[in-house]
Symmetry: C2
Subunit: 193 residues, 2 copies
């Protein structure tokens, strides 16, 4: 998605530690007109996949997942970090390591909303080491649901998470894919779209 690359070039900044800051439009402030375009693009990419549900994890993926859900006319479920008091009944849970925060956390989802027979599209803002998406795949597996693919706003390919998923035959669709990143330059993987 050329528009995502342009947006990153124009508004993104690289912070120490290999963090790409896109707070102006994606994960602190949301450009809602652009968010609609993101939702429509994800819908276009996966329109033939017979998805039944979109799944993300709180919190930066929620807006993107909601936009995709609105474009596709599908419900969205978001896994929570830690068990909250408003999650009752049987829960599915898995441990995820956070690259951004440097700690482990429990991701949980109620079994009521993720079922055998569901064909799930995973959505997130970033795909770096792939730990969050790995965790969502675990939750889908625990529920007996099938993963139809993963759509992410930005893949940091040099961190390897996307390719780990591709090796497992997951269809991974980044809207922008960063091959290499230095403090002064962002190089995107060749993009045919």
């Amino acid at each position: 998605m050329k528009a995502m690359e342009e947006k990153i070039r124009k508004e993104g900044t690289v912070l120490p530690g290999g963090i790409l800051k896109v707070g102006s439009f994606l994960n602190q402030q949301i450009d809602t007109e652009f968010l609609k375009e993101i939702g429509d693009e994800i819908a276009r990419l996966f329109e033939k996949e017979e998805i039944t549900k979109i799944m993300t994890i709180e919190s930066s993926g929620i807006a993107i997942a909601a936009a995709a859900g609105m474009s596709m006319g599908l419900p969205v479920i978001f896994a929570k970090k830690h068990k909250a008091s408003n999650v009752d009944g049987e829960i599915l849970s898995t441990k995820i390591h956070s690259f951004t925060h440097g700690n482990d956390y429990e991701a949980v989802v109620s079994r009521d909303y993720l079922k055998e027979g569901d064909r799930v599209l995973l959505v997130d803002d970033f795909l770096a080491s792939g730990n969050a998406l790995d965790g969502l795949m675990d939750l889908a597996e625990l529920a007996g649901a099938e993963v139809a693919g993963a759509a992410v706003a930005i893949e940091k390919k040099f961190q390897g998470g996307g390719d780990k998923l591709r090796v497992r035959n997951v269809r991974v669709e980044p809207l922008a894919c960063i091959e290499k990143m230095t403090d002064t330059e962002i190089i995107f993987t060749d993009n045919k779209r």
Copy 2:
């Protein structure tokens, strides 16, 4: 919004401790068709208020704020809990007590996205004791921004937070307002819409 009351009557359940569970459509699983209606209704309620920005706090308010932002053509900012490594520069911060989780946390937002001259609409899923919205008002005040009002999916009026805000002359618009709640019954405040 009659549709919100009907949805709560049909799908909501009361958990011990005065927790209303609406996970099937609002804060674990999101009914995205209904989410669009919520966004449109918030846009309708505040269309004359010359809002410049929508503000919420992670994570259950994000989808609603994003939907309202898409309906209104406005950017959304969401305050984060704790300082994340992808929030740099000058941050505004305030302490909030969580009714759901029974603890305190820091809510932060970058000063880059909240400015003097902004006219902010606060959005959240629930308004109970009002602590989250109070915290968002603190952040707006720290930034020198004006609060034009608050739109919440569900107000639990008996917990007093909404009326505390109204006393401070904040325009509070719940899409459904619960007067009283027992384990078996949910009574809504008289609704003219």
